[in-house]
């Protein structure tokens, strides 16, 4: 239809004008909305979530990764503070949130793993580290930490699976020596000295790598080349004085090889190297008792100075009692138990140390009585302690020739390990080595059931 121009022109002009106005208004609205979104988001992150590291530009340019990293850094710091303050629940939440927000933060992940380790959450610690390795398979710290954990907690099969599955192609890479050393160690623990020796022959370079010396020395020790093992580890201690574990291992080997005086010197060096630590002082006491006697004045003086220097620390009595238990120093274990009574509310762990000492001197019925008394006071929910208790009950019953008792305690022990099939497997092997077949058999069936349950 042809409308008169006078009628159509203003109308068209008006429509154009309206469209422009609408577009302009929409644009302004969007800008305002964006501004509101950015400012609200910034205020929320900065003040509500107390994230000091977030900047306005991070929010404005949607740098979510940066924002999350900033949040994670705050959470790791908060976790550390809570941990230092003994607030484990808060620390746990902060650390886990930090890892979730910034899963690639290796330092934060390692700190979280440290925390979980201290809090006896071993399975979570391993999962956390393995997840880290999936994200950063070449991170040396993560590799070291993960395999050290796996090979020191009886999870050697898992370590080997991880090596063969994820690291098969990397065994010759930059982290190759480290990975191959872990493989040798896990093989030694899992398949025995002969298998480890065979593997070591495939990797001759490890024998010349000083970082691998502790593992190579262990293979030598296990294959009865004891003096060579001691020499190699002694050289390692000389060149790497900052790792305590090697001192303890070396001193133990020296005592076993009849070189107790050398062991005392090693322990003294460890004490000098780690003056604030409890473990080297315990090692010195142990070596002095081995070199002379427990009653010798040197050993007694070492105990006195241990108590004077370190007695104010909460772990000092427990660690000395534990040493007394392992060595069979019944009176010292009992005295420490009595002294601890006025210093800490719970004495159950010290009672276990005392029972260990009784076992060492073959006072088996007394040890069993102590364990029974402790058992009557143990909460079934305290699985970590129950494991320690039941394990001892199995061993004492077996030592007394009470096979039914050993089986029954093993059944109860399996119940405490229900959610930890790998831990149960480690213990099963220990019982096999100790010749407690009935307990091992009980754990075998329980272990299978636990694995099925865990996979459901």
């Amino acid at each position: 239809m042809n409308w008169p121009q006078s009628m159509t022109t203003p109308a068209r002009s008006s429509r154009r004008f309206d469209t422009r106005r609408i577009l302009k208004a929409a644009g302004v609205g969007l800008v305002l909305l964006y501004g509101m979104f950015v400012s609200t988001g910034y205020i929320w992150l900065r003040y509500a979530l107390k994230n000091d590291r977030v900047s306005l530009s991070d929010v404005a340019f949607f740098r979510l990764r940066e924002v999350r990293r900033g949040m994670a850094a705050e959470q790791f710091a908060a976790g550390k503070s809570a941990w230092d303050a003994g607030k484990y629940q808060a620390a746990y939440l902060a650390f886990i949130s930090g890892v979730r927000n910034d899963p690639d933060n290796v330092a934060g992940r390692l700190m979280t793993a440290d925390f979980l380790g201290v809090a006896s959450a071993g399975n979570l610690e391993i999962s956390l580290l393995e997840d880290g390795l999936r994200r950063a398979p070449d991170d040396r710290q993560l590799i070291e930490r993960t395999f050290a954990l796996l090979t020191t907690t009886g999870r050697d099969r898992r370590a080997l699976d991880l090596l063969h599955r994820q690291y098969a192609s990397r065994l010759t890479g930059p982290n190759g020596p480290l990975l191959r050393t872990s493989e040798v160690l896990a093989t030694l623990n899992e398949d025995g000295a002969a298998a480890a020796k065979g593997l070591l022959e495939k990797y001759p370079d490890l024998k010349d790598r000083s970082e691998s010396a502790p593992v190579v020395a262990r293979v030598l020790w296990e294959t009865r080349d004891r003096l060579a093992a001691i020499d190699l580890l002694a050289a390692y201690v000389q060149s790497h004085p900052s790792g305590y574990a090697a001192y303890a291992q070396l001193a133990d080997w020296q005592v076993a090889a009849g070189m107790a005086d050398d062991a005392v010197q090693v322990a003294q060096r460890a004490c000098a190297q780690f003056p604030q630590d409890v473990a080297p002082r315990g090692l010195l006491i142990q070596m002095l008792a081995a070199s002379q006697t427990f009653e010798s004045s040197a050993c007694q003086r070492a105990i006195e100075s241990y108590l004077k220097d370190l007695g104010g620390r909460p772990e000092a009595l427990t660690m000395l009692a534990s040493l007394a238990g392992r060595q069979g120093w019944v009176t010292l274990a009992r005295t420490l138990y009595a002294v601890a009574g006025s210093r800490q509310p719970n004495l159950a762990v010290l009672a276990l140390a005392y029972s260990d000492a009784l076992v060492r001197v073959s006072q088996l019925s007394d040890a069993q009585r102590v364990l029974t008394e402790v058992e009557a006071q143990t909460d079934d929910a305290n699985a970590a302690f129950l494991r320690l208790l039941r394990q001892r009950q199995v061993e004492v019953a077996a030592a007394r020739g009470d096979r039914d008792g050993a089986r029954e305690y093993a059944r109860r022990l399996a119940s405490a390990f229900r959610s930890d099939p790998e831990g149960m497997e480690t213990l099963r092997r220990r019982f096999l080595r100790e010749g407690i077949a009935e307990a091992a058999a009980e754990l075998t069936s329980a272990s299978a059931a636990a694995k099925v349950a865990a996979s459901n």
Partner: protein, 439 residues
């Protein structure tokens, strides 16, 4: 020795109260840390797995169809974690067809109710509470129809009796033991009944009072689970001296009391009900006869004789009152012929005081219910000459891992005890000469 006399008065009266133990507010010890961590550190997957969660969720859906699905899953996870903790043997049977669902129904309903936060769920919460009561009644053998009718009546009674308890029931915060007691009370109509008049109270026999004392001062059978305990307390004597006391007790009659001043032990007395010994620094332990040890021998009473101990007889005396509060008076006679008078509050059935046979008396206050047992955290003793001492309990630790050997004298070891303690206190100028324990 004046100190020990006061101690004997205070402690024999107080510390043998059979208290279930508890921490009076001090930080929890290591196991508690483990426990508190265990909640987040143990994902439900560790105990459950999809099949189990699905099974439990199905049960919840049948019993609480109005509950939102995500809350059903949370309740199911909570249930599985509880089951693993309390009855791990039942966890394996969970998927079996013959699993006794009826037995766990009240717990399940409680956990679901605990998930329902906010006023929008008030109707559902009430419905779940009623069903829970119904389930408890059904477990007792009531027919379904009868249980349903009785449950409704009991709910009304509970609401009438105590709003607090009613709310706890609705919100899923009432454990099975508490619910059992509450139902018993509601059925008996104790609380609904007007406060008994003095004429009515006279009708209570001595065994009624003792039985009620035992029932009111513990939850369920809490005392049975107590095998040993330690008490840390602060004693202020009439002369203004302050001492730290550590009392260790273990069934059936073991006790060990250590008196500390300035962080070091000045005196130990211990025994097993028949044989007693005591020791001071620098001296070997010395046997003490029962006669010489006097009333301290009663520290060996593991729990308050009012908890119906064997070999104790009771006689009701004329009631008394103090500050307008009436109390029953019971003469408590031990098998050795000694006796005291216990004052029991007529409303709360707490032991608020004792009248000793030598003319002394003790008043108990600051009652706290810990681990299911009511204990007095403050005791004020007055001897027959009017001198007063006050004992404040700082911490009570249940089942701390005590062993029999701890209550027996061992001269060599106990000599070492004082030497080690001195070293630990870093106040040992003669540390080099101290005689440490032998092997």
């Amino acid at each position: 020795m004046r100190t020990t006399v006061v101690l004997a008065i205070l402690l024999s009266a107080t510390l043998s109260r059979g208290g279930e133990a508890a921490d009076s507010g001090a930080p929890a010890n290591d196991p508690a840390v483990t426990v508190s961590l265990a909640a987040p550190a143990s994902p439900a997957a560790a105990v459950s797995g999809g099949a189990r969660i699905a099974r439990v969720t199905d049960w919840i859906r049948e019993r609480a169809p109005g509950c939102p699905p995500d809350l059903m899953v949370s309740a199911a996870q909570q249930f599985l974690e509880d089951l693993q903790e309390r009855h791990p043997d039942q966890l394996d049977r969970l998927l079996a067809e013959d699993f006794p669902v009826r037995e766990i129904e009240p717990t399940l309903l409680m956990l679901v109710a605990a998930q329902l936060k906010g006023s929008q769920w008030s109707g559902l919460r009430e419905e779940l509470a009623r069903r829970r009561v119904e389930a408890v009644l059904a477990q007792e053998g009531s027919a379904a129809a009868a249980a349903s009718a009785e449950a409704a009546g009991l709910m009304a009674k509970i609401e009438n009796m105590s709003q607090v308890q009613f709310r706890r029931l609705l919100e899923g915060r009432m454990e099975a033991d508490d619910l059992e007691l509450l139902l018993k009370k509601a059925r008996g109509g104790d609380a609904a009944r007007p406060k008994p008049t003095s004429a009515e109270t006279k009708t209570l026999t001595v065994s009624d009072i003792v039985s009620e004392f035992s029932r009111r001062n513990q939850v369920g059978s809490a005392l049975q689970r107590l095998r040993a305990y330690t008490i840390e307390a602060r004693l202020k004597t009439a002369s203004g001296n302050e001492q730290r006391l550590l009392l260790f007790k273990m069934r059936p009659d073991r006790f060990r009391l250590a008196v500390q001043v300035d962080g070091t032990t000045r005196f130990i007395v211990a025994g097993d009900g028949q044989h007693f010994w005591q020791q001071t620094p620098g001296q070997p332990p010395q046997a003490v006869t029962a006669d010489k040890i006097g009333s301290r021998r009663y520290l060996g009473e593991f729990i308050d004789p009012l908890f119906a101990e064997e070999g104790v007889s009771y006689e009701r005396l004329a009631d008394g009152s103090s500050g307008g509060q009436k109390f029953y008076r019971l003469a408590v006679r031990r098998s050795d012929g000694s006796s005291y008078v216990a004052q029991i509050d007529q409303d709360s059935f707490r032991e608020t005081g004792r009248e000793e046979s030598d003319g002394g008396s003790t008043q108990y206050s600051d009652f706290r219910q810990v681990a299911g047992v009511t204990i007095a955290f403050r005791e004020e003793a007055t001897d027959r000459e009017g001198r007063k001492g006050v004992l404040d309990l700082i911490r009570v630790t249940p089942n701390p891992g005590l062993i029999q050997d701890f209550f027996e004298p061992a001269s060599q070891a106990e000599q070492g005890f004082f030497a080690v303690e001195q070293l630990l206190a870093r106040a040992s100028p003669a540390a080099g000469d101290s005689k440490l324990p032998g092997k």
